[in-house]
Symmetry: C2
């Protein structure tokens, strides 16, 4: 779950023991900026609960929010992240948080990758015909992959590349030809 008040990305993936991944579900839960905050949070909670109840994931990963970033919107994002964690807790699911740079590094090999690189790698890893849009949807899938690869699957030797890093390296080599 990529928390946000206006757009909250939610993605579900199946990750096999060989770290290969399949898309299960991706969506963006939206709330109307003209509605009062309490109504918006209720809409987000209902949307996230519907996805969790439909797909029954084993674990929920939520993007970590930092106080020092985007001061104008950070409180709303933090409140939405509280709702995402609450939905996990109410269903008895363990939750984990990852920073945006952890997610980017896990999926693209670069901690400062841009949105397009994240979308491209998510599409490649999940064998999608199109880039997942909007970026919040791709971010939610990237977060799910990051969590599965970092903690949910066997840890690769530190000297080896992750599947995403290998794919990215191969894509770069192809692009240079």
């Amino acid at each position: 779950m990529d928390p946000g008040l206006t757009r909250c990305g939610v993605g579900i993936v199946d990750v096999a023991s060989d770290r290969s991944a399949t898309l299960v579900h991706v969506d963006v839960v939206r709330s109307d900026p003209s509605d009062p905050i309490e109504a918006r949070l209720a809409v987000i909670a209902a949307g996230l609960r519907a996805v969790v109840d439909a797909h029954r994931p084993d674990v929920v990963a939520v993007e970590r929010v930092f106080a020092q970033h985007n001061r104008h919107t950070v409180m709303g994002t933090a409140q939405a992240s509280g709702i995402a964690l609450l939905v996990a807790g109410e269903r008895g699911l363990p939750a984990a948080t990852h920073t945006p740079s952890e997610v980017k590094a896990a999926v693209t090999g670069y901690g400062s990758a841009d949105k397009r690189q994240v979308q491209t790698m998510v599409a490649r890893v999940l064998r999608l015909d199109d880039l997942p849009k909007p970026a919040d949807a791709a971010d939610a899938l990237a977060l799910a992959l990051c969590h599965a690869w970092r903690g949910g699957a066997a840890v690769a030797a530190s000297s080896s590349l992750t599947p995403a890093q290998r794919l990215w390296r191969d894509a770069e080599r192809l692009a240079r030809r």
Copy 2:
């Protein structure tokens, strides 16, 4: 509701049209700091819902959280405030937020009043035999009074003192004798 991860104050008051106020309920919902965040937020949500469902308030006031304050705990406090607002939204109750200095000014007449002054005035206004403790409980009651006096009751002429300001002035005069 005075949001917090470890202690979340919740107070309910009845305020008459003459601005006199009566205590209905006060409590502190606690969560165990050794529990994971998702479980803590679920405990807080359940505790706040129980109070709202038992007493069916007309409106919920939540203390506003600022990104620049207490950086170490602010994200947890912001997440708890999201839960408080969510509980209001899910029950169809309007919610309002007030800053700590608005609350202190409304209840004591001083925007920078200390915790003891807030507790003292809350006890006096609600005719309590003892100071409400812990401070989170007093803060929740102060917030409820602030909201009722600022918006929920007829607005007094700007040149006049609020009931709390009159009480505080009288208490100060007594203390000087």
